[in-house]
Symmetry: C2
Subunit: 253 residues, 2 copies
């Protein structure tokens, strides 16, 4: 680690980082995984540098895998953030960092140049993730995406960008498979789409649409949630799901 | 220019470039603006480096403005290309470059490191553009996007990515305003959408849809294209056009 901090540009591209908005879904809320480095007051997104031997997508996968312990996660590159002042005016400075790692860090150290950040969103079922702090991280946990503190750098802006991108994305790439358990009820799926699109959807039209294109199928199983309440369980038709992703057909919900 | 070549990393980020797929539309074909540097056999996309004082979007605008002489051009960032080998195995090497500019270029010169390229597509009305070669460019002109030679680097892949992104983009961001003259006939608009989506569209449903959402309006003018053939001219309702872009509503065509 010390070698990577001191001799970073031997291994990593200078001035390039990746940041991931890892989104989970739980109790009708979208959650985002945030971390807080040691001695920091602010929280931010898990991110890291890009090795010269990998693509930016591989870098994002590597870093997300490390923080979530998930082998298969859905990741989508959505925007590059490059304001020349994006990482200035913050508590992350050479002095703070030197205190944390105990190695002298010069003011012109490569880690304190500006970084162009390539942002990804990742979708995952909330319950599968074990948030894991990286080295020098004090805390790493889920936050309600609609109720965030002021984060370090431009990370509030990046999260807003991820939500905007996700709203468009859902129309040509079904996303429930990554965010819901294998079997779900129609109201559960409906609530997920309403949450992401942040608007009311007529549940009958919504269901009709998804059943008619063959995206979901009814199982011969019920969920018992009380007297006279045992809704059918549904599951995704994975073949159709993958075909829709492949063809990038537009689905209006 | 010599100073920028020799001392690039003083001004530009290392290992970061922008490339733009500048798309025009002419006679039912999508065109792309390509350049060929001096002493090169291959063609490629106009691209350049990012100044440390600008965003990547500003860099792309600066470079596209320089090549097209257009002040207002629509630009959209769509993907980052970062294969570690993306610029290897090509005729652009220090020797060729040294011959062109007459300055000694070392093998480890910053311009011959790998570059992570942030790709944009730009849409413009074909007739407004005056293709302009940059320094060291031998030729710069429009090519039919469906009939391209093998380009240098991964630029064929970048163009394919731009077309794919444009097909999705057109569903939440109307694009005719950038690609057509101010007044157009319905068959002209219809042909543009068919060309971009690369599929047949029923012209009556297509027209009904765009008129009903208020995106286009009929003018009290005809185009005379022959005996008994004088179709009405239409124009975009710019207010509605901008509103649709703002709201990012999904339009299925």
């Amino acid at each position: 680690m010390e070698d990577q901090v001191m001799n970073g540009p031997k291994y990593f591209y200078r001035n390039i980082s990746v940041d991931s908005v890892i989104i989970g879904y739980h109790e009708k809320e979208l959650k985002v995984l945030l971390q807080r480095p040691q001695n920091f007051t602010k929280w931010g997104l898990p991110g890291g540098y890009v090795l010269k031997t990998e693509t930016v997508d591989e870098a994002a996968f590597r870093i997300v895998r490390y923080r979530t312990q998930l082998e298969n996660i859905f990741l989508h590159q959505f925007k590059v953030y490059s304001d020349p002042d994006r990482i200035k005016d913050d508590s992350l400075n050479p002095e703070t960092f030197q205190k944390i790692i105990g190695i002298p860090i010069e003011k012109d150290h490569w880690m304190f140049d500006n970084f162009i950040s390539i942002a990804f969103f990742a979708l995952t079922e909330f319950s599968l993730v074990q948030p894991t702090g990286a080295a020098y991280m004090e805390e790493c946990c889920w936050w309600n995406i609609n109720n965030l503190p002021k984060l370090y750098y431009d990370h509030n802006e990046i999260i807003a960008g991820a939500l905007k991108a996700l709203k468009l994305f859902i129309h040509h790439h079904p996303i429930g498979y990554e965010l819901l358990p294998e079997k779900f009820t129609l109201p559960e799926l409906h609530a997920l789409y309403e949450t992401i699109l942040n608007k009311k959807l007529d549940i009958r039209n919504f269901t009709k649409k998804l059943v008619s294109i063959g995206l979901i199928k009814k199982l011969d199983e019920h969920r018992n949630i009380g007297a006279h309440r045992s809704p059918y369980l549904y599951t995704f038709n994975k073949e159709k799901y993958d075909q829709l992703i492949q063809e990038e057909e537009i689905i209006v919900i």
